[in-house]
């Protein structure tokens, strides 16, 4: 009986170690197949990933320093000169019903934008441009959003569509169906694989984010230094492009970068950093979104290690921790004020004014020199708020954002 029990124990242990082994040996093939896996301890071995697009990379690299049309005081109306869509056929008086198919409000960035959008809506309703906005929240689900859009097309009685797609490929046919109604279609944030929309609104993009953040880190680090890259989740174009650009730059500069998916779970982030710190020193932390940045810094504090050079996001929790600890950091920005633009675009469209076919909004990171300014401007806002939300001139400011009042 005893020997049998021991045998069981041995089997168990063997099974686990076998598991570890199989996991090990299959790892490289995973890296090749998906191209999203980490480089581990082999810097410079970067194979070009499926998300990397040299043409788009170069384009966004240039756009970082491009001149924007319009007033810098209203960045949400600025755009890079290019093809314009003629909207004279849509010109009409009176209030119009807008239908908004939203991917989700499941992260603080989307929540902040959603609040801003609703305040902008109130202004346009007072002006009589928009009679009402019917919103459907797809809760991060492609199928739900496709159904939402079809509902709007068939039964929504909509005068215009605003769509914030949940994912790129899956939503393309639904957006095309909306275009076929002949009514104006405004797409913003994540893109779709069709240019049928009246206008596609987005900040410069993920590659620009990756270039800004990775350049910042590589300027401050030596060849051979270690960077831990904390990524929210795989498969979303705006996030994948951030990492694709950063990964390329790290590899070129000989920075050893290891990436992890965290789901923005602070427990995971802390574990990852603790384990990395137990293995060796970490000089830099790169994030594809600021959610969870505080946990990353705390992991260094708890381990009693030197704080890293770091890039986060313009989320206030990170900006405040940055100020408090005095780390060397940069806050890349995925301009949250873009949530105002779709409704303003609808206003222009019904006024018959032309709008950019691809409406590229400015996307300026927050450097150390501007940190105090942005903190002061957002004094009293909760930690999950985004500094560049762009709603200071809207009627509900600041209470609505402070109270996180979401319709």
């Amino acid at each position: 009986m005893r020997t049998k029990g021991i045998r069981t124990a041995v089997t168990l242990a063997a099974a686990s170690s076998l598991l570890a082994l199989t996991a090990c040996t299959t790892d490289p093939s995973v890296t090749e197949d998906t191209g999203t896996a980490s480089e581990g301890a082999s810097p410079g071995a970067t194979e070009q990933t499926e998300w990397f697009d040299q043409a788009l990379y170069d384009e966004q690299n240039e756009q970082r320093t491009a001149t924007f049309e319009g007033s810098p005081d209203e960045p949400w109306l600025q755009y890079i000169a290019g093809d314009m869509t003629d909207t004279s056929k849509f010109a009409s008086e009176g209030g119009h019903k807008v239908c908004f198919a939203n991917a989700s409000i499941s992260n603080p960035w989307r929540q902040t934008g959603w609040i801003t959008m609703n305040e902008q809506l109130k202004v346009l309703q007072d002006e009589g441009v928009v009679s009402e906005m019917e919103t459907r929240d797809a809760k991060d689900n492609d199928n739900t959003q496709i159904a939402d859009i079809d509902y709007f097309i068939n039964e929504g009685n909509c005068d215009a569509f605003i769509i914030s797609p949940n994912s790129t490929a899956a939503l393309t046919p639904a957006v095309e169906r909306a275009c076929e109604t002949g009514k104006p279609v405004v797409v913003f944030d994540r893109g779709v694989e069709t240019d049928c929309a009246t206008t596609f609104i987005h900040p410069i993009g993920g590659f620009a984010w990756g270039i800004d953040s990775a350049n910042f880190l590589t300027e401050r680090l030596q060849e051979g230094d270690k960077v831990v890259a904390l990524r929210i989740l795989p498969g979303v174009d705006v996030l994948e492009q951030r990492w694709a650009a950063a990964e390329k730059i790290f590899a070129e500069k000989g920075i050893e970068a290891t990436d992890y998916f965290t789901n923005a779970d602070p427990t995971e982030i802390k574990k990852i950093i603790s384990d990395e710190l137990a293995t060796g020193d970490v000089q830099g932390v790169w994030m594809d979104a600021g959610d969870g940045a505080v946990a990353a810094i705390e992991a260094f504090e708890d381990a009693g290690k030197d704080l890293p050079v770091m890039t986060g996001e313009d989320e206030l929790s990170f900006l405040r921790k940055w100020k408090e600890t005095g780390i060397d950091a940069l806050a890349p920005v995925y301009s949250n004020f873009q949530w105002r633009t779709p409704l303003l675009a609808v206003q222009k469209i019904f006024a018959g004014e032309e709008v950019p076919a691809e409406w590229v909004l400015p996307q300026q990171p927050i450097p150390a020199e501007e940190l105090d300014d942005w903190l002061e401007r957002n004094d009293g806002m909760p930690d999950g708020h985004y500094a560049k939300f762009g709603g200071e001139d809207l009627p509900g400011y600041p209470d609505v954002w402070q109270q996180r009042q979401m319709p």
């Binding site: 009986m1 029990g5 168990l12 099974a15 409000i105 779970d265 384990d275 929790s317």
Partner: protein, 371 residues
């Protein structure tokens, strides 16, 4: 009680009459004991892969950060050994984390009242889970699955899926701080102390009449009911212990990690995996509490080892899935063998127990004074 050996007590004790060394070896040969061997092997492997992990300071921090999941596993143990499941655990953790974040805010004065509220909420959720399972006879799998979804939906409704910021630092100290300037270890994190207390309390409870009845109820609830035990109340209390353990985990996680709706996600399955890895039999009636906690450590060690070896963290779920299957298979085989293999003593045992249970007064006495 009928006795063949001089001291009073149940016949089961005969096993324990052997020498300490033999008893120890015998213990290790059960699934509940093997997990300790596994844990030692995994820790040794980690230290080989990364020697700095073996420093006392690193080890104590590792224990500290594993404490929340170990406490959750201890809570889950009570439910599983009673023959039930608690799938609501992860959602309870998430809910408590959000409650702490939203209600305490920056106000130090609210720390204690909110802490009490959280414990009451935890007990209440366990009570509902338990009563619906035992009195309404809804399978616990369904009850706690429903509770998991209901609580998760509530959290999503409340927060919209995003964090509103961390509570006051004094509250977070429970999970983040520790006793400073301790020789050898440098610092002893509070979670380590809380885990030690939880484990000691749990260990003590399982030696009390309550623990004995709980195991009896898990093994054969009809028989346990015939001995006069109020099985429904025994089980309900197990659910309450589980939810309270989840609450304590939540409190520690707020400190360790911070407030985020993703904290606690998947905790129920990690806890169940840990318990199963600890050799506790799904379906109830067999298994040791401390083995469940050791299972949590073994699981986390395995993940850490995979991490140090450079294995993708996306493999984790696969590893966890395979472990559940392998561990349940191994434990089931091993317990079966025990029953068949050790024919004589076991039979003798059973005969005596049947004999004693004929006298109703001793049914309760056996658990209380037997050990």
């Amino acid at each position: 009680m009928s006795r063949t050996m001089p001291p009073a007590g149940a016949a089961v004790l005969e096993q324990n009459r052997a020498g300490a060394g033999e008893r120890f070896l015998r213990g290790l040969a059960t699934p509940g004991g093997a997990v300790f061997l596994l844990l030692v092997a995994l820790l040794a492997a980690i230290i080989v892969a990364n020697p700095s992990f073996g420093e006392p300071e690193s080890l104590i921090r590792f224990i500290g950060r594993t404490a929340p999941i170990a406490i959750a596993a201890i809570g889950q143990y009570f439910v599983i050994v009673a023959g039930e499941f608690d799938l609501s655990m992860g959602s309870v953790v998430t809910m408590q984390v959000i409650v702490a974040g939203n209600l305490i805010g920056d106000d130090d004065a609210k720390v204690l009242p909110v802490l009490l509220l959280m414990l009451v909420l935890g007990a209440l959720i366990g009570l509902i889970n338990g009563l619906v399972t035992t009195l309404l006879k809804v399978p616990s799998f369904i009850v706690t699955l429903g509770m998991m979804l209901a609580l998760f939906g509530l959290v999503m409704f409340w927060t919209g899926g995003a964090a509103q910021g961390n509570p006051a630092d004094s509250f977070r100290q429970i999970g983040r701080g520790g006793i400073q300037d301790v020789p050898v270890f440098g610092v002893i994190p509070y979670p380590v102390i809380i885990l030690a207390v939880a484990a000691a309390l749990g260990f003590w409870l399982m030696r009390r009449p309550y623990g004995r009845t709980l195991i009896a109820a898990g093994d054969n609830s009809a028989a346990a009911a015939l001995t006069g035990a109020r099985v429904w109340w025994v089980r309900t209390r197990a659910f309450m212990l589980s939810s309270l353990a989840a609450t304590v985990s939540g409190i520690l996680l707020v400190g360790y990690a911070g407030v985020h709706p993703s904290v606690g996600r998947g905790y129920e399955f990690t806890a169940i995996t840990a318990v199963v890895l600890g050799g506790v039999v799904l379906g109830g009636g067999r298994g040791w509490l401390l083995s469940a906690a050791a299972g949590a450590f073994a699981l986390e060690s395995l993940f850490t080892l995979l991490n140090f070896l450079g294995v993708e963290s996306t493999w984790r779920d696969t590893v966890q899935g395979v472990i559940i299957i392998v561990a349940v298979a191994a434990a089931a085989r091993s317990w079966q063998r025990r029953r068949r293999g050790s024919a004589l003593p076991a039979r003798a045992e059973q005969h005596r127990i049947t004999a004693t249970s004929a006298k109703p007064a001793e049914g309760t006495e056996q658990g209380g004074n037997g050990y």
